[in-house]
């Protein structure tokens, strides 16, 4: 079963904000709500890095744990969605989320803070697929159309990848092995090393690299 995930390659992200624009345009997101945003570390300093951040559709999502009205659910594909008809706009999910993904419109029935809005992985919500009600509440349902999230599909440098986590890991592994840089980071083999299918217990070598695809840094955990 597919586990839908996002992956952002900081070596490739050029901070163009194309993903942010694509998301806003695709779902007709109002002012003040940013389902996706680009975060730059060491902005203006040589070697700065940018990554595109939105809901990461956590496997054990803290927003689901803290919601007092239990309006969150997880689809078969591992996408974390919520029912806006049930949301009371309390903001607990915002405090719980390590990525700042939940967004709150600054006007509406609840005064200064409306019902929570967040990235849906372009999977809509609990309304009839591709209906007007679904679009108005949750945005376009691209997954029902057989498409991947707009932000990832339109990324010009393909820094932002979206789709089945295993497929994304394979694409990223190939990329890192080809460019010969990036595999030295801590935890590389744990995150992107191929699973052992031989039954011998030994890590499976990846093309052009050490077990798992690259050599870990000295003293680093592989």
């Amino acid at each position: 079963m597919a586990r839908m995930k996002f992956l952002c390659d900081a070596e490739r992200c050029i901070e163009c904000n194309g993903c942010v624009t694509a998301c806003k345009q695709e779902h007709d997101i109002p002012w003040g709500v940013n389902r996706r945003r680009v975060v730059t570390i060491n902005d203006g300093v040589p070697g700065e890095r940018s990554i595109s951040v939105a809901c990461m559709h956590c496997s054990d999502a803290p927003c689901m744990a803290v919601c007092p009205v239990d309006c969150f659910y997880k689809t078969q594909e591992g996408i974390v969605l919520h029912d806006k008809d049930l949301c009371i706009g309390c903001g607990y999910c915002f405090y719980a989320c390590p990525f700042g993904a939940p967004q709150f419109p600054q006007a509406g029935a609840f005064g200064v803070r409306g019902k929570m809005d967040k990235c849906t992985f372009c999977a809509g919500g609990p309304e009839k697929d591709m209906s007007d009600a679904e679009f108005k509440k949750y945005g376009r349902n691209r997954l029902a159309e057989g498409k991947l999230p707009a932000c990832a599909e339109m990324c010009s440098t393909k820094a932002l990848l979206g789709g089945d986590g295993d497929v994304l890991a394979e694409i990223y592994r190939t990329r890192v092995v080809t460019r010969g840089k990036g595999g030295e980071v801590w935890g590389w083999a744990t995150a992107y090393g191929r699973p052992d299918t031989s039954g011998t217990g030994a890590p499976v070598p990846a093309p052009g690299g050490a077990p798992g695809g690259a050599t870990p840094a000295p003293g680093g955990k592989s």
Partner: protein
């Protein structure tokens, strides 16, 4: 008199020492909530896939590989 006072002090000390034994855990046990909202349908349940999950999976895999330029440019 001294014995009574010592006994009282001993009883008081024992009561203080044993006070912790009756302490109950004050941490709430977290219980996973269950979704209370409306049910949702799988993304392949409507047209154009009409419930064909295999076809939907294939479409997803094709779209995902469009992000792999090493494959696209070969």
């Amino acid at each position: 008199m001294m014995g009574t006072r010592a006994g009282l002090m001993l009883a008081g000390a024992a009561a203080l020492a044993l006070a912790g034994c009756g302490e109950r855990p004050q941490v709430l046990e977290y219980k996973q909530g269950s979704y209370q909202g409306k049910p949702d349908t799988p993304p392949y349940s409507n047209a154009p896939f009409n419930g064909d999950k295999t076809e939907w999976d294939r479409a997803m895999a094709t779209r995902a590989q469009n992000q792999n330029e090493y494959k696209r440019t070969r």
